[in-house]
Symmetry: D2
Subunit: 430 residues, 4 copies
């Protein structure tokens, strides 16, 4: 999955950079904050910190460190997320009942593994290191995924607390919704998937051909203001706009607004990592499910793009790739800014739901061994999201990146970009 060029020094430097970023993200959180699992999808902060460490211990140290022994036998069991091949594992939904190791103990575990990884990298001969590098690099990207999850998860934990705790960041100045523009894209037989020497996950491979009719993509994400119009027009009450499964969820879970919106005295507020604030109509809507995204598109007389349309469109029409929000530590999408004729907000604001189910590319082959469980076994019952979001760490996005969640999932920072022409048009008459 990797074709990068690393020396022991650059590998250790990058290792330290990635690892310390995790600790920086956890720093504002108390031991109690780090312990809570607010729903089965969410993991405690200290679990994230320990699990990414377990990944290096299991896949890097275990097979290569001379005289390897686990730091703590039970951690092997506690911090395995889903790798069946590695042995039995602790039940996901019960991560919140494990008070020990505490946040401080996890820090000690991290320090121990860090020292051992540095040692190993420094002492391996060239050939051995070359073989190990791709796993270490996978560990970097794995930890970055958990950095994003750590923020999504703690957002949920804090949102449930009536004391309205603040994690960090600050609200931006109120904005006005910008006019939506469209970018036309020629279709044809196009190349999709990861290309070149850089890192990718196995699910982005192999590069392959897909035939596309001509289409167009909205040049920015759907805004809160537009979403309020959808709500005002009965968007959550009109069965005709919804997929059947989506409509069932609207009713069983009482959806009437995006996940973190709450109504107080007739005003819509939004839980954010910087507290609970009035909804800003100029910012992109976030924390909507695929079902909601699809219903909105039907209401707007448009559709969601396929993942191939998204990827080809970003490559062809130019994505706005500068400035990951994660660097800004705002932890929230920003306004689109003035139109540029290119695709705005393609990476740093909200993950973008596509109309594509998460399935293997033609010729896909998972990696050998336990690492092969990384992606392939989840190719069922999920939809692809593309781009990135304001919680994604810098350097973790690329045009071929395939994120995925079940269509009813709302706690991820997921938003909507519309498409039109060419591929499926649901129209109002769902």
């Amino acid at each position: 999955m990797t074709r990068g060029t690393w020396t022991p020094d650059t590998l250790i430097a990058r290792y330290d950079e990635v690892r310390s970023h995790t600790e920086r993200l956890a720093a504002p959180l108390s031991p109690e904050d780090q312990t809570v699992q607010s729903m089965p999808d969410v993991s405690p902060t200290k679990w994230h910190r320990a699990h990414v460490t377990w990944f290096f211990e299991t896949f890097v140290l275990a097979d290569h460190e001379p005289g390897f022994a686990p730091f703590q036998d039970q951690y092997w069991f506690l911090f395995n997320s889903y790798y069946e091949a590695v042995g039995p594992r602790y039940a996901r939904a019960a991560r919140g009942v494990i008070s020990r190791p505490g946040a401080h103990d996890v820090g000690i575990y991290r320090g121990n593994v860090d020292a051992r990884v540095r040692d190993l990298v420094s002492t391996l001969d060239h050939g051995a290191l070359e073989k190990l590098t791709s796993t270490i690099e996978l560990g970097f990207h794995h930890e970055q995924q958990h950095q994003e999850l750590l923020l999504m998860d703690i957002k949920h934990v804090l949102s449930l607390n009536p004391l309205q705790p603040v994690y960090g960041g600050a609200p931006s100045a109120p904005t006005e919704p910008d006019r939506l523009g469209w970018v036309d894209v020629e279709g044809g037989l196009v190349e999709i998937g990861h290309r070149g020497a850089g890192f990718s996950f196995d699910n982005e491979l192999p590069e392959h051909q897909v035939y596309l009719e001509p289409y167009r993509l909205a040049d920015r994400l759907v805004t809160n203001g537009e979403w309020l119009a959808f709500m005002a027009d009965g968007g959550y009450r009109r069965a005709d706009l919804w997929l059947s499964d989506g409509w069932a969820r609207v009713q069983s879970e009482g959806w009437r607004a995006p996940f973190y919106w709450v109504e107080a005295d007739g005003v819509w507020l939004e839980h954010t990592l910087h507290g609970t604030w009035p909804v800003d109509p100029g910012l992109p809507v976030g924390h909507v499910s695929h079902y909601e995204a699809d219903a909105y598109a039907a209401w707007a007389g448009k559709r969601l793009p396929t993942e191939a349309e998204w990827e080809h469109g970003v490559r062809a029409a130019g994505g706005d790739v500068t400035g990951n929000l994660a660097d800004l530590e705002t932890y929230h999408p920003r306004a689109a800014g003035p139109a540029t004729g290119r695709l705005r907000q393609a990476y740093g604001d909200c993950w973008e739901w596509t109309s594509s189910a998460y399935l293997p590319y033609p010729g896909f082959h998972p990696a050998d061994g336990a690492i092969g469980e990384y992606n392939g076994k989840f190719m069922s019952g999920q939809m692809v999201l593309r781009g990135g979001c304001a919680l994604t760490p810098a350097g973790h996005t690329r045009p071929s990146y395939r994120n995925f969640f079940p269509p009813g999932s709302r706690w991820a920072l997921s938003g909507v970009r519309l498409a039109d022409g060419g591929a499926p048009t649901g129209g109002v008459a769902r």
Copy 2:
């Protein structure tokens, strides 16, 4: 959705043919048999008989019959399956608690609507009839779908009864599994979707281009004998073969064999519509979920075909279309017979799971009005099956037909055809 040519006489003749076939299928069933709903997916026989009647009453008579009034106000509510636009409807999972109207009363309802439809067709002027024909034709195909469901559903009802009741048919002579052959198919930019003047559902449209790498398809379905080998090799105990969602179901529901198989004194028996019999190794395996089909393919080092590969393959390599089993009233798949160099068992034995999620074709547009709810709103969380099965009524299959079920579904008569090359290869290392 239709482009057929009908006269009032041929329309009425076909109407009578379709309608009487439903009654013929229900004839062996007692009033009690027709009342039971054995799980939420299953509907009582008398509900099927009434619902297909309601379809004609609602979509044909209501808007066109002079002085229309419903046969019974409450039937309007009781026999609406899922059409939100038609008004509130009775809860699906509680169809089995409605003892009245009884089986005999449903017959009276059917007779009443039949007479009124015949009257209407006989008296409409040419222009009006032309507009109505496509809805009536849709009603035929709708009723045929329920004929198949009626048999799948009563199979489940009777299978739960310790008295082991027989619906009909008889076991075939025991057979030996035939050697599996492969049919090579050239890929390229191919046409997929319904073409020509005949009837199709809206989800088979529009015809469109898809790019395929070269591939090959197994020339027959996976057999019970092969499935027993999969089981003997730990197929239901090896997590590495399974999609994550599938493995969770294996464990939560204790799957260890196809849906209707039961072990007695070390011998595997199978509930069928002709009673409970030892599993015949030469017959196609049926009543397996998509998860099981996918795990089997991984075990075999092969994969499932995409729906485009299936459709193009059947067209290019020649499907074995003769002899729908429904005509034979065996109600069970048959053995493959000798190899022919073409694709055997393509229509009349088991619906074939593909690796494609059920999604709209590029440019898909559902019909206007309530009829638009027929297909489009279900395009979420389901997988496509192709072909047909031994319970499918004669004349109801075609290359472009898209059946669909959730990936964990097992009560449909669904089986497995392997593919290889070109598109995704899961291999053993899931």
Copy 3:
């Protein structure tokens, strides 16, 4: 449990009487009606008819009939209700998925067992018969219990049907609520439990002493009119009136009126066995849970009687025992009629919730063998009801009879008689 005197002739005559009454009750019901199980607590009519037959086959014929063989092996399994000692049994909640044996087949089963029981009774010698008589007599009372349940259960089945089917009976003329009077009862050390030579269940034994403070009992049941006043005063919205478990049910199940009441255009209607009719304020309220009965008593500043108070009160103050409603085939409680200074409506209208948990009497000892499972093992989590109801067959009531249901149960025909003084007074301040 019995001390009656029977000859073969009187035993057979009574047998025929009891058995034919069951068939009379089932006669108005179609095969479909007899098949439905509308919730786990409810059993299909044909199951009741078969189960009481199984009881005679299992406990009378199996051990005494020369060359005994079951009528049908699987019936042994299908129609065992809860006797662990008799072997495995079919799952209670799935009785509604068994379409066969059908209603007609059950009739054949009944006829077969009836003939064999008559034969056995006619041919046994005196000593053997004497030993068997108490089991046969238990079978009579067991079947009577199921006669009552059959009516309660079919009431529920038909109530769910939007066609509002009628079982039988007819509404009585509207009545006005009668003024509530009180009957004073002296306390002291009193005798409780079954006495004398007649039949009783084991749970009514042994007769024993209980100390009671002086108390008084309402001379009639709480009426629908009084219940409407309770509702109008926020009875279902005031947590302070309710037991904690009861309040949880009010909220989780949305209780706002008795079980069979439905509001239509501001008027309260009630599902009855003679159809859906406006609530009659003069009739006793029925189908309320223990929680509701207790909350009503708290609202009224009174309390429910203990079972000892009820039994002693009925004996001391004179129960109104004439005229079981079952004889009248009204299938519904009647109005109290003019005050008499005695306890009105003590047997034939609604089972009366007491404040006593269903527990063994001091010195209680269940019968030996499987019959010992009849009562004792249910002495947990249930409350005692006393008296009888309009669905109880004639001759099935007595002062010491202990009926029991979980406190949240509402589908039984259960009502409320208030008590005051002596024992616990909840008052408004629950």
Copy 4:
């Protein structure tokens, strides 16, 4: 509920004593330990610490402190356990998702309320104080109940952790089971309930007469060794020994030993607050449900005592009241010690299940206002336990004390004392 004599000084001294004991119990626990809710019945340690503080703030300060304002508005909502009259409250089952206030913040809250209560008591005039004293005293006993719960709850939390954390205490030297003796008790018309000037809860009142047949009580609790014999004899596999509800739980939850027992390599170990140790056959069995206690008694051919028998027996035959284990900080039952002719282990080892449902005493009247919700509304669906346990704080036990839990509850430290004669004898034939 109190008739004690207090001065401001003795009241403050006792207040400080009770309050500081809570903090002493929490001291060994990390912030993470104090945050976890391992199941809905369990509350986080920091919640217990805050809730008992809320009790004083709500029922003592709110109505009497001049210029009262809550320490923190949201605490009012977060730390209300179940008092409907005080306003809305936070969902019990979600106490574990609230990370803030943290353990340290709760300490600040406690200090603030402590200072204010001391101030109030010091400054109130004599008459006002007299009225308030009974509420303050109730607060002491309320906090003591939570001290016991805090230990029961953290025992559960730590037991789930594969790291096997230790709270405190140490295992005692292994012991041999002592021979079981019996203490005969005369029956008759006896007085039950709280008497005299000391504190009691409202549910222990009023004192009243109950008639008892002569009976006898085991002179010690059932031991682990005896329980192992019950298990070896198929105790958890014989339906005939169990109440129907109990047998259903055995099967649905897979019970095969007491709650905290785990089998490892054929040896039974027990989770305790001092770690996981082999089961000591001489110690009393603990953490068994009422269902298990009842099944054990049936197996032993004995029965459980009624609560009246227990209370009268302890008074008549002399309970062994010296030495609450809580003082010893062993946190675990001890061996019975040599027979004395009196009832051993009556208070300090395991709460003792009785055969009595938790119901109001004759003439019971809950207190006015929100405090009236303390006991009365829970008188449904629970069984009475008597005595006390090794986690009960010193000074919190008395003969009339009525503890209560649902019959399936196992996480409380509950054990078994057998009775015989007089009252109900289940015998083997349940």
